[in-house]
Structures are given as structure tokens and as C-alpha cells.
């Protein structure tokens, strides 16, 4: 549905500051009907990337295709027409204060020259869809943040777009409202088959509704793939920094203090982190290890979570036993397609679980 090829965006130097390359050599492919998340720190280039999709930002280099049309090749008038099939919602809603809820949702249709009667036929069901039928005559100033964003969503859907772009649409909302808005977006995605591209700096948003995700840093996509994979096997430090707080891969400090990096001299037992994904999350691996390899698996820390409806867990264990038995056990875990990572070695003297 959306294909970005080698897109680069450089903002020209202005008033003292040098030129800023906000986006460099970015390629993305977003399939029809998917919810694609883009996460990155502030200033990573997320907004710039999103805004190149509807050409609010003209790329310095590269091509942007939406629904088979190369937007970079269009005339101004053609581009305006193409934008009717790309809806957009914003962090600060960007509703017209002088128009009622109805008037705001009707605006894109008015701009497209749709007759009044037809506008009504489109706007009313949309207000129903977002749960604001009773607020039709109210002004934005009379609404809560969540309600404003619902108006924003209804407005973005008015021209029956195929793509919805969301620029931090929940970042100005409280957690509860955020969840409601995200569920509304997921619901719209299912019901209308709408392709959604959303950018956020909050990993929880990605975890909640995205199918695939790209991690943006310094204007580059440093990692992308199905959300589950990114959570289960984050590759880069930036991705880890996003993922770790949510799925708690990190050891609590009290346990971390009992780890040493070097192995042999410490003489302690290896401490490994096993990552369970999908169906494997419920496998009884620990008891199998003990039985088959005759080692003790001393559980330090563990957690089971759910990402995109699939179970996902991590378990940190200290393995106690003969060196070759431990080697065999690790190999066995890898064979089972579980993530295995040696975190370090337990400082001798601590054998009992304390965490």
C-alpha cells in the first residue's frame, strides 16, 4: 500500500543553523490493511517520515508510492486529489475552533465539493462510529482530549481514505483515554480494512495495536519487523531501550549485584536468560533440563507477557551442575528454538532465590 524507496529529507540551512538531514536513505514497505508503527526518540525523524507519506514534506531524494501512485511525480492538483485517500490525525488534534464537531468532520468533504445532503449522509454514521453522535453541535473547546481525537479520527475518515497517518495521536492523552483511542483505531483497521501508519515514542502504543514496527534513530530505520519479533529479539541498543522497560527483560538491581561478568575466576554458576516465544512460552523446559541433564535450575527472575495476543516470557535461571551438562543444556534450549543468553555468573555464596 505504501512504499518508500531511498527517501531522504534534508532541511536547508536557515538563520545560523546548518542544514539538517532529518531522514537518510529510508526504505519501507507497508502492506494493505496493516497497522504499522514507527517508534523513535524525540528528533529521530518520525514526523518527517510520516509527513513524507502524504508529501506534506517533499523528500529531497527518493520516491513515495501510495496505493500504486508515485506521489513525488504528481502535479499540485493531482497531489491534492491523492491526499483525499490519505487521512491524517495529529497529537494536538488540529480541529477548527470555529467549527462544530459536525462542521469539522464535514470539512474534508466540503473541500472536495461534495453536496450538502451527501455530506450529512457521510458525517452522521462517522460520528456514530467514533461515539460522538450526541456531540454533533458542540465546539471543540467543549470536548475532552479523547473526544477531540475522536473528532479528528472521524474527520480523517470522512473522505473514505485507504491510509490513515497518525502523528503521536495519543501522546497528549491520559493512559486510559490512550487505550480507548488505540482500540478505536484497531477497530477501524479491522472493520474498514484501513492501512494505518502511526508514529509514537511510546512502546506501549506499538505493543497494543501494531502488527509491524520500524525503529527509527538518527533519521534511519535501524530495525524493522513483526512487533512480536522486535520485542522478543531486539537487536540494537536503541530498540532494547524501548523494549526493556515494557517487557522487563532487565534484572532487578538486587539480582544484578549478584552477577559478575567474568566466568572462570569467579568460579560461579552461569546465569542465563531464556526467552520463550509463542507456543513455547508454556513449555515445561526447566523441569526437562533438571531431569535430562541432571542439573539444578535455580530461578532468579521470570515474567510472562502477551504481545499481539501471543504469549511471551523471559526466565532468568542460574544453572548448577557439571560444566559439560550445562553446555548440553544450553545446546538443548537452543535446539528448542528458545532464546538463550548468558548474562554472567553468579557470585559464589548466593544460592538461594532472593528476588
Amino acid at each position: 500500500m505504501i512504499t518508500l524507496e531511498h527517501v531522504e529529507k534534508t532541511y536547508p540551512a536557515r538563520g545560523g543553523g546548518g542544514a539538517v538531514t532529518a531522514l537518510s536513505d529510508t526504505s519501507l514497505h507497508i502492506a494493505p490493511g496493516e497497522i504499522f508503527g514507527i517508534i523513535g526518540r524525540s528528533g529521530a525523524g518520525k514526523s518527517t517520515l510520516l509527513r513524507t507519506i502524504n508529501l506534506l514534506e517533499t523528500p529531497t531524494r527518493g520516491t513515495v508510492r501510495v496505493d500504486g501512485v508515485d506521489l513525488t511525480s504528481l502535479s499540485a492538483a493531482q497531489l491534492r486529489h491523492a491526499r483525499h485517500s490519505i487521512g491524517m490525525i495529529f497529537q494536538h488534534f488540529n480541529l477548527l475552533s470555529a467549527r462544530t464537531v459536525y462542521g469539522n468532520v464535514a470539512l474534508p468533504l466540503e473541500l472536495a465539493g461534495v453536496p450538502k445532503a451527501e455530506i450529512r449522509k457521510t458525517v452522521e454514521p462517522l460520528l456514530d462510529l467514533v461515539g460522538l453522535a450526541d456531540k454533533s453541535g458542540r465546539y471543540p473547546a467543549e470536548l475532552s482530549g479523547g473526544q477531540k481525537q475522536r473528532v479528528g479520527i472521524a474527520r480523517a475518515l470522512a473522505s473514505k481514505p485507504k491510509v490513515l497517518l497518525s502523528d503521536e495521536a495519543t501522546s497528549a492523552l491520559d493512559p486510559e483515554t490512550t487505550t480507548q483511542i488505540l482500540h478505536l483505531l484497531a477497530d477501524i483497521n479491522r472493520r474498514l480494512g484501513l492501512t494505518i501508519v502511526l508514529i509514537t515514542h511510546e512502546i506501549a502504543v506499538i505493543k497494543e495495536i501494531c502488527h509491524r514496527v520500524a525503529v527509527l534513530d538518527g533519521g534511519r530505520v535501524i530495525e524493522s519487523g513483526p512487533v512480536f519479533d522486535i520485542f522478543a529479539h531486539p537487536q540494537s541498543p536503541v530498540t532494547r531501550s524501548f523494549v526493556d522497560p515494557v517487557i522487563n527483560r532487565d534484572l532487578p538491581d538486587t539480582l544484578r549485584a549478584r552477577l559478575t561478568g567474568s566466568s572462570a575466576e569467579a568460579g560461579g554458576n552461569p546465569v542465563i536468560r531464556i526467552t520463550f516465544t509463542g507456543d513455547r512460552a508454556t513449555d515445561p523446559v526447566v523441569s526437562v533440563l533438571s531431569r535430562r541433564f541432571n542439573i539444578d535450575a535455580n530461578i532468579w527472575h521470570g515474567q510472562v507477557d502477551e504481545i499481539q495476543g501471543a504469549p511471551f516470557g523471559t526466565l532468568v535461571v542460574e544453572l548448577e551442575g557439571a560444566a559439560d551438562a550445562i553446555g548440553g543444556a544450553v545446546a538443548f534450549l537452543k535446539e528448542c528454538n528458545l532464546g538463550v543468553e548468558v548474562l554472567g555468573h553468579a557470585v559464589p555464596g548466593h544460592h538461594r532465590v532472593a528476588g
Binding site: N54, L56, R80, A98, L111
Partner: protein, 222 residues
């Protein structure tokens, strides 16, 4: 107390003043409003960026704005004659008043339009709006409260200016005040003129405030 004759003169002068302010205000808005919008949207980084146009028009507006009104009146007398056929009287006074109102209103409107949240322009662009649609459907409606206040300010200034053209034979309240109050030394006429001017300004200001409040949907009680 004021004699019936003087009262009749006062009424006539008030109507003349209202006439001058209304006509010059209307003409000034007719030209100043689009000019102000153009100034706002042609600025650097704006919707229809055109820096050269913006600089030139901006410079002309600044020159007109910084010329003291009384000098402007005298300076454009040839132009006034050309347009009104005369350089004295109410009709002639409307010319310099309009010339002064245009840049004033243009700047006020420019400021009001520039105040509109850029996010709204961006949202409209994302919807595929043309620049003209953005001006008509987004910028002007959103700037309406500020424009109403700006035009009120312009009207109040015009009432003051219209009293000044009285000094150069323009007619209206200023003219009455000068000829009767000052030259014939009738302080009660001068006082009456001032009272009428104060009342006029109060009425215009209150009406403008009321209108701006009505237009403003940004701070509603929930």
C-alpha cells in the same frame, strides 16, 4: 445650556462623523482585509511564500503607517481632489481617512491571520485543500474574533482621525469643535463634542467586543 441651533449642528456633525467613519472603514476593510491576508500568507515559510511581494507591500504599508495622519491629509490633497473633486468637506475627508485605514487594517488583519495555529493549515493541506480554500475555510474563520477586535480598533482610530480632519475643513465633530468651541470660544460646545466622541468610541468598542466574544468559540464553558 446648548441652544437648539447648536444642538442641530451637533446632530449634523455627529452624522457626518459617522458617515466618514463608516465609509472609510468599509472601504478600508474592503482593501485592507485582503491586503492583510496577502501579507500574512506570503511571508517566509507561509502558505503562498513570496518574499519579494511581501517586502514591497510591507514597505509601502509601513510608510503609510508611519506618516502622521495630519501630514498624510495634506500630502495627498492632489489625490483627494482627483477622487472627490474637492479638498474640503465630508466627501473629501473620506479619502485620507480611507488611505490611512487601509494599511492600519492590513496590519491588524495580518496579525490576526498569523496567529492561527499552523497545525490547522497543515491539517487542511493534508485534506487536499487549495491555498484559497485554506484562506476562506480555515484562516479567516479562525481569525475572525481577532479580526473583529482589530477592526474595532481601526474604527476607534478613525473616529479620532475624523475629528482631526475637522481641523483642515473636513466637517464632522472635529470641525464643529474647532469652529465653535475654539474659534468662537464656546467651551460648552467643545465639551459636547468631546462627550459625543467619547460616547461614540464607547459604543463602537462595546459592539466590537461583543462581536469578538460571539465569534470566539475557543474558550467556551464546558
Amino acid at each position: 445650556m446648548l441652544s437648539p441651533d447648536i444642538i442641530a449642528l451637533l446632530v449634523k456633525a455627529t452624522l457626518d462623523t459617522l458617515h466618514m467613519v463608516a465609509v472609510s472603514g468599509a472601504l478600508g476593510t474592503l482593501i485592507g482585509l485582503p491586503l492583510g491576508v496577502l501579507l500574512a500568507v506570503t511571508g517566509r515559510g507561509e502558505l503562498l511564500e513570496s518574499v519579494i511581494f511581501n517586502r514591497i507591500v510591507g514597505a509601502v504599508v509601513n510608510i503609510a503607517r508611519s506618516t502622521p495622519f495630519i501630514i498624510l491629509v495634506v500630502a495627498i490633497i492632489p489625490f483627494t481632489r482627483l477622487v472627490a473633486g474637492t479638498s474640503i468637506g465630508t466627501a473629501a475627508a473620506i479619502v485620507p481617512l480611507t488611505v490611512a485605514a487601509i494599511p492600519f487594517i492590513a496590519r491588524v488583519v495580518e496579525g490576526a491571520v498569523r496567529e492561527v495555529d499552523r497545525g490547522l493549515i497543515e491539517a487542511a493541506q493534508a485534506m487536499g485543500a487549495t491555498p484559497l480554500q485554506i484562506i476562506v475555510k480555515v484562516l479567516l474563520p479562525e481569525a475572525r474574533p481577532a479580526i473583529a477586535l482589530g477592526l474595532t480598533l481601526a474604527a476607534v482610530s478613525l473616529i479620532g482621525y475624523s475629528a482631526m480632519v475637522g481641523a483642515v475643513g473636513g466637517g464632522g465633530l472635529g470641525d464643529l469643535g474647532i469652529r465653535y468651541g475654539y474659534q468662537r470660544f464656546l467651551p460648552e460646545v467643545m465639551l459636547a463634542v468631546v462627550v459625543v466622541l467619547v460616547v461614540l468610541v464607547q459604543i463602537v468598542q462595546s459592539a466590537g467586543d461583543w462581536l469578538a466574544r460571539r465569534f470566539n468559540k475557543r474558550h467556551l464553558k464546558v
